[in-house]
């Protein structure tokens, strides 16, 4: 298993849209439906020898939200970039994300081309 982009969103529509948008990057995409699901899947992937190249995470999710996911993820991985993809546009929430360890913040709606450009910046 090589590099993997983990897409974390409770909306199946958004997860599939992001995966389709990222096809052109050639990087394998895995999906998780909340922060806890992502942590579990990331552990499975890294235990199997895979490498998480980037996480793209929503904020408002049940079970574990995006901010808590970033905080937990940063306990085990300080360097892999996490880009938030959300409808949340309030400065306070963006600041919380930045303090938790987010690398970037994309406010929906997104266009595929812009998402690909952000990914290319973080995934070499």
């Amino acid at each position: 298993m090589g590099k993997v982009i983990m897409v974390i969103d409770d909306s199946p529509t958004i997860r599939v849209s992001v995966e389709i948008a990222l096809k052109s990057t050639g990087v394998e995409v895995k999906q998780a439906e909340n922060g806890q699901d992502a942590l579990d899947k990331i552990k499975e992937i890294t235990d199997a020898g895979g490498e998480i190249a980037l996480c793209i995470s929503d904020i408002n999710m049940p079970v574990m939200n995006g901010i808590d996911f970033i905080k937990e993820f940063r306990k085990v991985d300080k360097f892999t970039p996490v880009v938030v993809l959300t409808t949340e546009a309030e400065k306070e929430t963006i600041q919380k994300g930045k303090e938790a360890g987010a690398s970037g913040w994309i406010i929906k709606p997104f266009q595929a081309e812009d998402l690909v450009n952000v990914v290319k910046r973080f995934v070499k």
Binding site: T13, I20, M61, P62, T87, I106, I107, F110
Partner: protein, 196 residues
């Protein structure tokens, strides 16, 4: 959005205008008037949280898959605004059911409203299928506007057909302006911030 007392029931009512959404777990009413737009009511049967959004998908025909369509993108965004608010209140989309209203073919407007209504119906059908959100009731089409009262505490909706399009002059104007604006700005995109 307009917050007001409801004299008949004693409950507070939140009146949402075209393009707005509201979610709560309170014992209140969420109300709107919908014409060619869509009013979607979502109810979390587990947490008893409800919300309503009144929006339009500024489409031409949704010819591509919902995941790739530039037009559906705005419809998905509107649904995400509402669902995001409900999730913040403790809801989970897996426990949500939906009721949808509107998409009227209004004779007092241009014939393009027929196509608009069809496109909106196609979007919600595909969206709820993709999201696995069960549609429990719908009242769509027709040549009249609808006045809705939604109880987010139990998911019930009271619908009045405005056959003579009474009570709607303000809403009719606002809806027309909103639809025009959504078409004008349908290629919009959100901001991107990259942190050091």
């Amino acid at each position: 959005m307009l917050k007001s007392g409801n004299n008949e029931t004693g409950k507070t009512a939140f009146l949402i205008y075209p393009g707005e959404y509201f979610a709560t777990r309170g014992d209140v009413f969420i109300s709107t008037i919908v014409g060619s737009c869509l009013a979607v009511c979502l109810f979390d049967v587990s947490e008893h949280i409800g919300g309503m959004v009144n929006f339009v998908v500024p489409g031409g025909k949704v010819t591509r898959d919902i995941h790739e369509s530039e037009i559906s993108r705005i419809g998905v965004l509107n649904m995400e605004y509402l669902i995001g608010e409900m999730v913040k209140l403790g809801s989970n989309r897996k426990h949500m059911v939906s009721k949808i209203f509107g998409a009227a073919f209004l004779s007092d407007e241009s014939t393009s409203t027929h196509k608009l209504a069809e496109d909106n119906l196609e979007f919600v059908s595909k969206y709820f299928h993709a999201e696995k959100i069960r549609l429990v009731n719908s009242d769509l089409g027709g040549e009249f506007r609808r006045k809705l009262y939604f109880s987010p505490l139990d998911g019930k909706v009271w619908r009045k057909k405005l056959i003579n399009n009474e009570e709607v002059s303000e809403f009719a104007i606002l809806e027309e302006e909103y639809v025009r604006k959504e078409f004008r700005e349908r290629d919009r995109k959100g901001s991107i911030f990259l942190f050091d």
